[in-house]
Amino acid sequence: MKGFYARRLHSLLGIIPLGLFFIEHMITNFSAYEGGKESFDQGVAFLNGLPLVLFLEIVFIFLPLLYHGIYGLYIAYQAKPNNNHFGNERNWRYTLQRVTGVLTFIYVAWHVYDTRFQVALGNVTHEQLGGIMHNIMTNPVTFVLYAIGVVSACFHFSNGLWSFLVTWGITVGPRAQRVSSYICMTIFVVVAVMFILSMVAFRNVEFQDPTVAFESIRALVA
């Protein structure tokens, strides 16, 4: 009986809260593209002004991520992909969901280490995160690695939304599942483009922050 509940919880956490946070994160970052540094800083300040922000972060982001991520690695390990013999599109998305899950795990660990973890250690402040991002995005190697991680996470979220709808018995028949495939893959494209545009926006000199140069180099070397 336990397996069923554990797996349903894994599925639920993927959308609530993780998927919702993912969308929120995309919107905040996109403000860097749309409104530049000022509007991004406002977004960061707003989030950090939320009451009980540390509690919210732990209960609604950190713990769900840890549960979904570690259980997800186990689910991915249990898979035995057979795309060589069954080349249909749905089977490719099955395999990609697992591959992008693992990539997302690595990427999120790195990204959190660069940002929130450094804030927790007191090496940087929330206000300096834009500067850190600027340094990462202006380095072509880290830009490409970030892009791979971000696109993986976008696919994982969008395709996960598709399977979430199946897991919860919302899309049952083949037609409903086909229509939801179109919608979810459109979401993938939109979300990926928005994140990449934000990444490009951080390359702008206005995000340059001499005070973080030292920290972010240290973070990368460490």
Partner: protein
């Protein structure tokens, strides 16, 4: 094919069309597997079973050496019993309905290794029958007295339920599923769809919750990862993924009901 074996009189060889088979063999359950090639005289309309019968008649491999005849299982020869399932040219399917004319050569034939191999192409599908027992894929009507007629089934429902009843427990959907393997205890798509069938029956519905509880147990419905290979491979065209999504809904309802009613 004729050129490949032209050892004798070229005129004779050209007329005798041959079909080339590469068969994965295994002598005993724990033994190593190996492949052996066969060249079989072509006959119009032949299928993989008739080719295997030819090997049985004349057990000689393509290098001309005598060999043990290849073992396989079959019964109905019309794709309704499910006994002859094997992997043909990479796809799990029934050997009796695999026409040689429609297959690319050389034809590769292998056992469905998701199941324990008994010998050559013979596999042990007991796990499917235990799964049917586990999910209670029957309608309990036995009693000490006549229970009388049961409730009628609506014709509209009977029509789609009939499609689910065509399952022949052939195992193709388990072989196609990337989540049925030695690392999981997933019972696979076929027994799940049977739960939907028996829960749709007006009398079977009376024990609906027992079956839902069974597929909410170990290796049950939660292990589905939506590759949807099952529905694309099922020789009977059973809407397996629709059954699974419908049962997702039913098991979720059951989960909440169980929480809220105690």
């Amino acid at each position: 094919m004729a050129e490949a074996v032209s050892t004798g009189n070229p005129a004779v060889q050209q007329t005798a069309k041959k079909v080339k088979f590469v068969i994965t063999r295994q002598d005993k359950p724990e033994g190593p597997s190996y492949t052996e090639e066969f060249e079989i005289p072509y006959r119009p309309g032949m299928n993989v079973i008739s080719a295997l019968m030819e090997i049985q008649r004349n057990p000689r491999n393509s290098s001309g050496k005598d060999t043990a005849p290849v073992c396989w299982e079959s019964n109905c020869l019309e794709e309704v019993c499910g006994a002859c399932s094997m992997v043909i040219n990479g796809k799990p399917r029934q050997a009796c309905s695999s026409l040689v004319d429609k297959l690319e050569q050389p034809i590769t034939v292998a056992p469905m290794k998701t199941f324990p191999v008994v010998r050559d192409l013979v596999i042990d599908r007991s796990r499917m029958f235990s799964a049917l027992k586990k999910v209670k894929a029957w309608i309990p009507i036995d009693g000490t007295y006549d229970l009388g007629p049961g409730p009628r089934m609506a014709e509209t429902k009977r029509q789609w339920a009939y499609e689910l009843s065509k399952c022949m427990t052939c195992g193709v959907c388990l072989e196609a599923c990337p989540n049925v393997n030695e690392k999981t205890d997933f019972i696979g798509p076929a027994p799940l769809s049977q739960v939907r069938l028996f829960n749709a029956h007006p009398t079977g519905e009376m024990n609906k919750e027992e079956r839902l509880d069974a597929i909410m147990g170990e290796g049950g419905i939660e292990a589905c990862g939506n590759s949807q290979n099952c529905v694309r491979s099922c020789p009977k065209g059973i809407p397996l993924t629709t059954s699974i999504a419908d049962l997702n809904k039913e098991t979720n309802k059951r989960m909440f009901k169980r929480w809220l009613s105690v």
